[in-house]
Amino acid sequence: MNSRLRADGRAALLGRVLADGGFPGRPRGAFQVDSTAWGILALSACDGPTKVLTQARHLLMRDQLGDGRLCVDTTHPASFWPTSLAILAWEHSEPCRDAQQRAIRFMLDTTGRHFPRTADLPSAHDTMLKGWPWVGETHSWVEPTAMGMMALRAVGHGQHDRVQEAVRMLLDRQLPHGGWNYGNALVLGTELRPMPESTGAALAGLAGLAERDAVQASLTYLQQEVIRLRTPISLGWSLLGLAAWKHTPSNAALLVERCLANQERYGEYETSALCLLVLGALAGREPDDPSLLISSPVDQGRSGSLHH
């Protein structure tokens, strides 16, 4: 089953590779940094050809800015959320080691905008807890924080102060009845709605770093929710989040097939969405496989030069 999944995933992803390397956002579109990083992660998980992966990793290095960040495009340097993806995409690649170290340094040195709570603030969370934002000079939000945690944990920084603070931030943003949304738990005293993609990302980020009791309500929410999901970003993140806590649903393959079939209705999925789905489909099947985005929640304790 796994080999078929990998073969199918590999074929689908290789069909997206651009003539000059890397991946487009939309099929047959132009090169995009975030899609290329996702493409590397998913294609690696599918045992993709080394040549294609190497070329894609070099294209990411080409687009890295001097301070280590990777942006959606270089004309928008504040849109640095692909940096954590690049750290993961460059993992296990010796030629990319320096670039990866600069990206790690950037992540460790970068936070969102944080400010003390005031009495009139309508949200309820601890505004001083730092994670990572989508875009520079904005607040820390759930998914980029979870991605930052996954990237730093993968390169041995799971015990770094920044990661540990991000754990506290995500737990603080968890909805009282379980789950996460983009990052506001309560506004004006009202509990907001959970979202599967945010919940899956948060659970994937917290795996191995938080106690099960602390996220049990969210696991319960997502286990109930996942069976109705039909779209790739929600389903992909949900499968990744559940797998990270060893709760892969027994009908995961069916859910993925149903989601893929939806392309007949919606057209081919955007590359990063397809990659998330591929990674979600493979997650939890071989828990020790280091090529998967969420391979093992256990910090490897690798001591890099940036270890805090």
Partner: protein, 337 residues
């Protein structure tokens, strides 16, 4: 960016500049700030519509023709409809523009001879646009009608100079798709809003700003100032038409946690501040107490009732006060007396 012209101008901008003869000798096209004059008088059309099973296309078509939108103007044009899709809850369909209002708008524009009509949105809360598209019921309608839906959150952007200059943002990045359309129509929901008092056609345009550049939520705009950002986006984008779904709106803690409010109206017009001001009056809100509208007045368009020609139903005949919450500062003191 690949789709950006040398000056970050849209094809529409360039054509307008050429038409008005503003080509200067540097070899570059420069569009003067004031080549485009915002109207200081406007017409809006209000129609009663008690439920979504009515002939909404017919109602919208009649409203458009009453407002002078005819085949001469629309023939062959590419029309982009921007609904208000935020997040979904099966218990709260009143969060989003109703799919049947979109269907009605599509049919009305096609009846007027539009060359193509498409629907596009970049939800601010959910990264999974497709999930919102599907769970809102819009996917069923557009699939059946064979209308293309575009996810604006992941689309490549092109930058335009910030024409509003109310925030510190020097440029605004819009979806490249906008360079390929002739009309942008805000098809919004009639809702109260806990930061801005009301969210209507102008605030709805937050959703055109791609998430990949502005984040989820579109937090860049929050830090720049919500009210200022609304003005900048509208001043720069210059949308062409607005339709407000007030058949069932949202009152109280909008834009997502409020209660349904059957207002039984569809409101439309070419000038967005005028349309939003009319909606405010229908909702029992004083548009002069809604900061972005008050500041848009006599700039982006009129909001005074003396400057808005009211067609269709009178405001007084359809006014139904939306619940405001005393503890929400944006709701305090905005009730229309």
């Amino acid at each position: 960016m690949d789709s950006e012209s040398p000056q970050g101008l849209t094809r529409r901008d360039v054509l307008r500049a050429v038409a008005t003869g503003f080509v200067i000798g540097t070899g570059l096209l420069v569009v003067p700030k004031r080549y485009f004059r915002w109207p200081q008088e406007a017409s809006t059309f209000v129609a009663k519509a008690d439920h979504y099973q009515l002939d909404i296309a017919g109602i919208l078509y009649r409203g458009m023709t009453e407002l002078g939108v005819g085949t001469t103007e629309v023939q062959g044009k590419r029309i982009l409809l921007k609904p208000n899709l935020v997040e979904t809850d099966s218990e709260a369909p009143h969060i989003n523009t109703h799919p049947l209002v979109l269907r009605g708008a599509i049919e009305a524009f096609l009846r007027l001879g539009a060359g193509a009509v498409m629907v596009a949105e970049g939800p601010g809360h959910r990264r999974d646009t497709l999930a919102v598209y599907e769970e809102s019921g819009l996917a069923d309608v557009l699939t059946e009608d064979r209308i293309k839906f575009h996810d604006l959150n992941y689309i490549t952007g092109y930058a335009l100079p910030n024409a509003g200059r109310q925030t510190a943002m020097k440029t605004l990045t819009f979806p490249a798709l906008f360079q390929e359309v002739d009309w942008i129509v805000s098809v919004a929901k009639m809702k109260t809003h806990h930061w801005t008092g009301a969210t209507l056609s102008m605030k709805n345009l937050f959703g055109v700003m791609p998430g990949r550049y502005y984040g989820w939520p579109k937090n860049v705009l929050h830090h720049a100032g919500i009210q200022n950002s609304i003005l900048d986006i509208n001043a720069t984008l210059k949308p062409h038409f607005a339709i407000i779904d007030g058949i069932v709106g949202m009152q109280g803690d909008g834009p997502i946690m409020g209660d349904p409010k059957p207002a039984g109206v569809l409101v439309m017009g070419r000038n967005l501040p005028a349309v939003d001001a009319t909606c405010c009056r229908i909702m029992g809100i004083d548009p002069y107490k809604v900061s972005y509208l008050e500041r848009a007045d006599k700039w982006l368009g009129p909001i005074g009732d003396g400057s808005i020609e009211q067609r269709g139903e009178t405001v007084a005949s359809v006014r139904t006060d939306f619940e405001l919450i005393d503890t929400i500062s944006a709701h305090q003191g905005i009730r229309l007396t």
